[in-house]
């Protein structure tokens, strides 16, 4: 785990890493998350190794228990539960990370602009952000999820492709998760902007872009990372909720959300089918939250 420390040999990062490492829950959260990522990525190799096809519905082995090649048994269509959980992890974590990053890009841009330029732009952008936060978003998102992409000029082929469904979910989630990042970035930017080293850079003649990129952005990275880690957890949950409402990743592509949703009705006969993805979602989100909490403490400016 020293890779992180070596990669950023910058002194504040070392201190933060040291502080983070001292936080045992956060550190175990990180281990769990890394393990989950490894777990998800191992899907294809393990599938090849065991010589099974996780997408193959085999009704004869419906609900069959564990075996030498099917470590967690079979689901309602006789597919291997373990491998599907691993593939589902790729989708869920993929959606989570992609939506968080996209949200971060939106949030950072808006937050930086609002915080640095201030004035009416700030007022406008923050009103907008607060407005978005205040809205009952889930119903709105259903409207978004129901939009016919062909009416927006996308080709019918694209609109029906599974890539479109992935992008659509990523986009929909990103459209709401940026607000927290934007607020945090703005708040940090506001305080950084008034810090005298930014004034000093301006006095020495640096242009706005240079100041934003060289003086402001590096100094708001810490809150951004904290915010992203917090957002990631809610995004993974959100994917599950969208699946629940029927707007998630379409089957047969597994995601933890739609696996959980499918398993709901089977709770009586095959409770484990619901417990595995539910547990994985829970563990992931809680791990991410612990990491976020640890990062927040580690990046606490008072401790710097």
């Amino acid at each position: 785990m020293n890779a992180l420390a070596i990669a950023v040999d910058n002194a504040p990062w070392q201190r933060r890493w040291r502080r983070f490492r001292r936080n045992r829950t956060a550190l175990s959260g990180l281990y769990v998350l890394v393990a989950l990522i490894v777990f998800s990525l191992a899907a294809a190799p393990l599938e090849a190794l065991l010589g099974i096809d996780a997408n193959n519905a085999d009704l004869l082995s419906r609900f069959d228990g564990r075996s030498a090649t099917n470590w967690l048994g079979h689901d309602e269509l006789g597919r291997d539960v373990l491998i599907r959980l691993m593939y589902g992890g790729q989708v869920s974590l993929g959606v989570g990370i992609a939506a968080t990053l996209l949200g971060a890009v939106i949030g950072i841009s808006i937050g930086l602009a609002a915080g640095y330029f201030g004035g009416n732009l700030d007022a406008l952008l923050m009103r907008f952000t607060d407005g978005i936060i205040a809205l009952p978003l889930l119903p709105l998102l259903i409207v978004l999820a129901a939009i016919d992409l062909t009416k927006l000029g996308f080709s019918a082929d694209f609109a029906r492709s599974s890539a479109a469904s992935f992008y659509r979910i990523v986009l929909i989630i990103a459209l709401i998760d940026w607000t927290r990042i934007a607020r945090l970035v703005r708040a940090s930017t506001l305080s950084i902007r008034e810090r005298e080293f930014v004034l000093a850079a301006r006095v020495s003649g640096a242009g706005t872009v240079r100041i934003l990129l060289r003086s402001v952005l590096p100094n708001v990275i810490a809150p951004i990372i904290v915010a992203c880690s917090q957002v990631l957890g809610s995004v993974i949950l959100f994917e599950a909720v969208l699946s629940f409402l029927g707007f998630g990743i379409a089957p047969p592509t597994p995601s933890w959300g739609n696996m959980l949703n499918n398993a709901q009705e089977l709770v009586a006969t095959a409770p484990m089918l619901a417990i595995y993805p539910g547990l994985l979602i829970f563990i992931t989100v809680i791990a991410v939250n612990f990491i976020g909490d640890g990062l927040q403490d580690a990046f606490d400016p008072r401790a710097e």
Binding site: L59, F247, A250, E265
Partner: protein, 561 residues
């Protein structure tokens, strides 16, 4: 710890939050004279003639009696009338109109004691009122044909009318869609707002607890839009007095939640009439709670099938269509998923139908034959085990259905796997119901396969689904259900004949011919007929599923032990 008061007068200090104290819990209601039914769908509105959804028919069954309905044996019987009109019993007579064309005069006798919920008798006046209203398109009635088929109606007396059809037709005594409205309630509304505004102002929606709107054993006592309908016995009901003092129909859309409600006893049962649990859920209940419930699986006339896109060159090849059907193990599918309860569909007709032709080819699972057919059609196994043709085109098809329908999605994924075994690639592209039915299926924009169900009355000819005139095209505003765009002159001709042939002996060969053409041409891939699955508490008796319509038409016979 807090100081008792704060001196600084800020006006807002007087804001208090009132917290509801959940101190006492209500008592459990008295058992057995009340019945709680859980349905997955809410009957959006209650006018018998507007917008048909199953949940509405289900609720209306308790409170409203249409003229006739199909019973559990698939026989059309009287609900509101005394004698079911047939040629045989003389209540229906072929007559010749002044212009020489032929029609049928049907004598319809309203039950002498039939009364609306407010004590006003159901009379010929109501029949005439409904007929006049129903023929006007602005009234927005679901079935124009149910009213427009009559040229005139003669009133014999208060309780007897003679309906004169415009043409001779085999379904002359299918009167279930003639839904008589109370003239004394709806009449004044039509008068005051006009026909065009009637749909928005009908008392069924505006004042749905008005007793005068209903004539069934129960009356609607209370409606919580979207969630609950409460029924109580109709004091003016003319039939057998209903057993339950109160029936509550609750909408629980999430089927897992509905299942939980049944297990917890909050809901006594979920009807199998298409608004309750799915077959696999009831099967599960049977596995785990055999002691608590009685189980009924009533074969129905609804069948799941896959429409094939007619414009897709791959599917234009009959051999490919046949191969598709040979390659899937429908028997194993229903054995495993539905415990063999849902019979494999060989044609559009259910095996329980008297007109079912058992001699048609059955397309039992035969992957070798499927492979051979595909080879024959020029599809050779490619490098990734998916077949390609001489042009290098992959044998790949899109496969859509209604997203969120668990059973269909399961079936879909099984079929996908089975087809892959014979080298056919299927890409699943599901859409929410509104998109699927509203756009993709209706405008026939799906590119390969589309899975959904067709339903019909017992021995209703498949005109709506397979007649050329029922192909939705832009010219008819995409109306009709022939989404596979099946068009076969022989088939059309047989159908047309069937529609006017009154002689049962002559009808049977026509039915057989239709089935032969269907199996030969395979416009769609038949999968299996659904059942109406009921899990009824042991103490509840008298419920008789019909297989086609709703079981509530005979709700007065329901009782507890």
């Amino acid at each position: 710890m807090f100081s008792p008061q704060r001196s600084c007068n800020r006006g807002l200090r007087t804001v208090y939050t009132v917290v509801a104290i959940l101190s006492s819990f209500g008592t459990a209601w008295a058992a057995k004279d009340q019945l709680v039914i859980g349905a997955t769908q809410y009957p959006s509105n209650l006018n018998p003639n507007h917008e048909a959804i199953t949940s509405k028919d289900y609720v209306l069954g308790f409170v409203y009696r249409q003229a006739t309905a199909f019973n559990g044996e698939g026989k059309n019987v009287c609900l509101l009338c005394t004698d079911f009109p047939t040629i045989e019993n003389g209540l229906a007579k072929i007559e010749t109109h002044d212009d020489g064309s032929k029609g049928i005069a049907i004598t319809f006798k309203i039950h002498p004691k039939a009364t609306w919920g407010d004590g006003v008798p159901v009379t010929a006046k109501d029949v005439l009122f409904t007929w006049n209203l129903g023929r006007q398109k602005e009234a927005g009635f679901l079935s124009l044909d149910a009213y427009d088929r009559y040229e005139k109606i003669d009133v014999v007396d208060d309780k007897t009318v003679v309906l004169h059809t415009k043409t001779v037709r085999s379904d002359y005594n299918e009167l279930g869609r003639f839904r008589i409205l109370p003239e004394h309630v709806e009449g004044p509304i039509v008068k005051s707002v006009g026909v065009a505004e009637y749909p928005k102002n009908t008392a069924y929606n505006r004042a749905s607890t008005t007793p005068g709107l209903y004539n069934g054993p129960y009356l609607i006592k209370e409606v919580q839009s979207g969630s609950t309908v409460v029924l109580e016995p109709n004091p003016y009901w003319f039939g057998k007095a209903p057993y339950f003092k109160r029936i509550v129909i609750r909408t629980i859309e999430n089927s897992a939640a509905l299942q939980a409600n049944i297990l917890s006893g909050d809901v006594d049962f979920a009807p199998g009439d298409g608004v309750g649990l799915t077959t696999d859920q009831v099967l599960e209940l049977e596995k785990a709670h055999r002691d608590k419930f009685d189980f009924i699986y009533k074969p129905s006339y609804t069948y799941e099938h896959i429409d094939l896109q007619k414009n897709n060159p791959i599917l234009q090849d009959k051999r490919v269509r046949q191969a598709l059907l040979f390659a899937i193990n429908r028997k194993a599918l229903t054995d495993k998923l539905f415990d063999s309860r849902e019979p494999v569909a060989d044609t559009f007709l259910a095996p329980i139908s008297p007109f079912y032709d058992n001699s048609v080819p059955k397309f039992t699972y035969d992957p070798k034959k499927a492979a051979a057919l595909l080879e024959d059609a020029g599809w050779k196994i490619g490098h990734d085990k998916i077949r390609v043709n001489a042009q290098g085109q992959r044998l790949s098809l899109d496969f859509g259905t209604t997203a969120g329908n668990k059973v269909r999605e399961l079936v879909q994924q099984v079929l996908q796997s089975q087809w892959r075994e014979v080298g056919i690639e299927v890409v699943i592209k599901n859409e929410p119901g509104r998109t699927f039915f509203g756009e993709t299926a209706r405008k026939r924009t799906y590119s390969g396969l589309a899975l959904y169900a067709w339903t019909s009355d017992p021995d209703e000819p498949p005109v709506r689904n397979l007649h050329t005139s029922a192909i939705p095209v832009e010219g008819n505003n995409w109306a009709g259900n022939n989404i596979a765009a099946f068009s076969n002159p022989q088939f059309d001709a047989a159908l047309d004949k069937l529609l006017v042939e009154l002689d049962p002996a002559a009808r049977k060969p026509l039915w057989f011919e239709l089935q032969k053409i269907y199996v030969e041409e395979l416009p769609v891939l038949p999968l299996f007929f659904r059942v109406q699955p009921f899990a009824l508490p042991k103490w509840l008796k008298g419920i008789e599923p019909t297989g086609s319509g709703v079981s509530t038409h005979w709700a007065e016979t329901w009782h507890a032990i």
